[in-house]
């Protein structure tokens, strides 16, 4: 029991913290010694989706401008899922062309691990935001900003390390990733639109014939 708890602590807190604070050594171990685990990454992604719902509903009244009736858990989950899938696929397709050393699994794992700060700072901060007055709410905003900045940092360093890129090339890869994400979204919309048109065309023909 104790060893199991210790293992969970190591996997979910200690190692991600080590990676956050020592990005080069951490991602070295992450990639070369296979210390990163897909299950951990998936858990972080799930927790992130849950965090978005949690924040929508339980953020302190002073800062929460969301209409509680507008909460749509499925929408939150799918938007996180869509973002992750778009980013990983986009990054993978770009970095394969740019001689990146990382595999798709590694990109997915880095993305998941990068959500560690948001998950670990975010949940307590949201609870804290219920205990703050209007003047003190800046602390909450600071914490959330810290969480998002360190997530960005971790994602950046992760992509840099697993692909064995330099600084400039990583930046380039990120820009290219964003573009490829946009292209994918465009293609997706185009595809759905065409399918819709096609279906309505078929339905129209069917109606014409059946009414004749």
């Amino acid at each position: 029991m104790m060893t199991k708890l210790k293992k969970i602590y190591n996997d979910y807190i200690k190692f991600p913290k080590y990676v956050l604070l020592h990005p080069f050594d951490g991602f070295e171990e992450f990639k070369r010694y296979k210390k990163g685990k897909l299950s951990v990454a998936v858990v972080f992604i799930v927790l992130f989706a849950f965090f978005r719902i949690f924040q929508f509903q339980y953020e302190g009244f002073i800062i929460n401008e969301n209409n509680p009736l507008m909460l749509n858990s499925l929408q939150e989950i799918f938007s996180v899922l869509l973002l992750i899938v778009l980013f990983t696929v986009g990054n993978w397709s770009v970095t394969t062309l740019m001689e990146g050393k990382g595999t798709y699994k590694e990109i997915l794992m880095v993305t998941g691990y990068a959500l560690f700060p948001i998950v670990i700072i975010g949940f307590p901060s949201v609870i804290l935001s219920n205990l703050l007055t209007l003047e003190e709410i800046a602390f909450y905003e600071l914490l959330m900003a810290l969480a998002f900045v360190s997530t960005g940092w971790m994602l950046f360093m992760g992509i840099l390390n697993i692909h064995a890129y330099g600084l400039a090339k990583t930046l380039l890869a990120f820009i290219a990733t964003v573009i490829s994400m946009l292209v994918m979204m465009f293609l997706g919309l185009l595809f759905f639109d065409l399918i819709q048109q096609f279906i309505s065309f078929v339905v129209a023909i069917y109606e014409e014939i059946s009414l004749r």
Partner: protein, 491 residues
């Protein structure tokens, strides 16, 4: 018998009530049902007055008398408090003072003055001021309707190219005239008591987006000249309050629909409070773009009138609606119905408060519609008045009545909450501020509540902190000993 009578009358009344739905905007911007704040009381038209109205343009109330100008019959019409006609005046004699003045200027023409298509009027203790738009001048009369002055020459380079066409006017306590003129985009014209142009006040700023600023910086002079002119929006009306602050309405510009209502202080700065759920601008939701089936675009505010305690009402000509706000910018109630029936108006041009009643001048049906406060509206106004005087208990009592009539009314919950906060009932106050979505006061109540809890459990909290620290240190010492180390020496 009474039951049957009630039922029958309900059968008639219900559909009438349901055809016009009164609404207000909730914190989340949904339009929710609301009790009506004002309702139709009476109307005046040309027939009941015994005059010919063909295109009434402006209306103003001064000391129980109603002054109306008509731009087609070129008449000034005065109505008394019983809503009967005092007179219809087309020509105005010159006063002795003005004759003396003209003589000193070397003029010998002392003929009576007529007005041509007047569009605006204001009446103050110092006289009656009429925007004589067709003659490009402002005419000032005394209360015996004799001419005191005629002001037409405006000494400003704006009027080198265009004529001075005053549309609306208001006058402050030191007889300075504030005029909204046609095709003048610089702001509201401030004219001294002697007719000398002073300055433009309350300039409507235009906001450029960063992209526009960037693209304009790249253009050549010739290209800039070809661009459509970015004109600041035109003011549509002005009204002055007792502190010489000018309430002004303007058309909305394309990129800024948030400040059609302004309160301009004597320095020329807009100081209106926008602390409500939404900035005061009439309807919050509207259809954008051209549409043949519904009226689109933001509200077109055409007149503004203030009553006691900083409550003011604006008239939306486009949808024939009246929006009443309080000093803080909270939307109190929305009224008015478009239509050609006697209790509705179709082309409102002017409003003014007549005591607590509101007069609406309708150019379309050529009537003056009188709206009076309903029970709900009177309660709201009374509560705000009490709140202004600092009588929070009385205010809260009335807010409770308001909530009974209209439980969708979120502002009322804040009013009750403020009393509870003063009574240091923090937990209840928090509940009410939550209902009213007032984060500022919620935060205050919460602070009190938190302090209360901390004080009550001070011993417990301090004790647990001491206990936990001691425990941790103790455990550390214990484990160090157990491993055979020493706490005294670092090894």
């Amino acid at each position: 018998m009474i039951k049957i009578f009630t039922l029958l009358s309900l059968m008639v009344m219900m559909p009438m009530q349901l055809t016009s739905t009164n609404y207000n905007y909730s914190y989340y911007g949904e339009s929710v049902h609301s009790a009506p704040g004002m309702t139709f009381a009476a109307y005046l038209d040309a027939q009941s007055l015994g005059v010919s109205l063909s295109s009434p343009e402006d209306l103003v109330v001064y000391e129980d008398q109603i002054y109306v100008v008509d731009s087609t019959t070129n008449a000034l019409i005065i109505i008394d408090e019983e809503f009967s006609l005092v007179g219809e005046y087309l020509t105005f004699e010159l006063s002795d003072e003005y004759e003396d003045y003209l003589t000193s200027e070397g003029s010998t023409d002392f003929s009576d003055i007529t007005i041509d298509s007047p569009y605006g009027i204001d009446v103050k203790e110092t006289g009656i001021y009429i925007c004589d738009t067709g003659n490009f001048r402002v005419v000032k009369l005394n209360h015996d309707l004799e001419v005191l002055g005629v002001y037409g020459d405006m000494d400003d380079k704006t009027f080198d190219e265009i004529e001075f066409e005053p549309k609306k006017i208001t006058v402050d306590s030191s007889e300075r005239m504030y005029v909204v003129a046609k095709n003048v985009y610089e702001g509201i014209m401030e004219i001294n008591y002697d007719g000398e142009f002073n300055r433009f006040t309350g300039v409507n700023p235009i906001l450029l987006t960063p992209f526009e600023i960037f693209s304009r910086s790249l253009m050549t002079e010739a290209q800039l000249a070809q661009l459509q002119l970015f004109l600041p929006t035109e003011y549509t009306n002005v009204a002055i309050d007792e502190k010489s602050f000018i309430y002004a309405t303007s058309k909305t510009s394309e990129n800024n629909t948030d400040n059609p209502i302004q309160l301009i202080n004597p320095k020329g700065v807009d100081v209106i409070k926008r602390n409500g759920y939404f900035p005061p601008k009439g309807d919050i939701h509207f259809v954008l773009g051209s549409n043949n089936y519904v009226i689109d675009g933001p509200s077109e505010l055409i007149d503004i009138s203030s009553t006691h305690n900083g409550i003011y009402t604006v008239l939306d000509q486009k949808r024939s609606r009246l929006f009443t706000y309080d000093r803080e910018g909270n939307l109190l109630y929305i009224n008015g119905d478009e239509g050609s029936q006697s209790d509705k108006f179709s082309e409102g041009v002017a409003i003014d408060y007549f005591g607590d009643d509101l007069l609406i001048l309708d150019r379309g049906t050529k009537t003056i519609v009188i709206y009076q406060l309903t029970e709900f509206g009177a309660y709201v106004n009374q509560a705000i008045a009490y709140h202004d005087e600092g009588e929070f208990e009385k205010a809260a009592e009335i807010w409770e009545e308001v909530v009974k009539i209209n439980s969708n009314y979120e502002i009322a919950f804040n009013g009750i909450g403020k009393l509870l906060l003063r009574q240091e009932k923090y937990e209840e106050a928090m509940e009410y501020f939550k209902l009213g979505h007032d984060t500022y006061y919620y935060s205050k109540a919460f602070k009190g509540y938190r302090n209360e809890i901390l004080e009550r459990n001070f011993g417990l909290i301090l004790g647990s902190i001491v206990f936990i620290t001691c425990g941790v240190i103790g455990l550390k010492i214990y484990s160090t000993y157990k491993k055979g180390g020493s706490i005294l020496y670092d090894d």
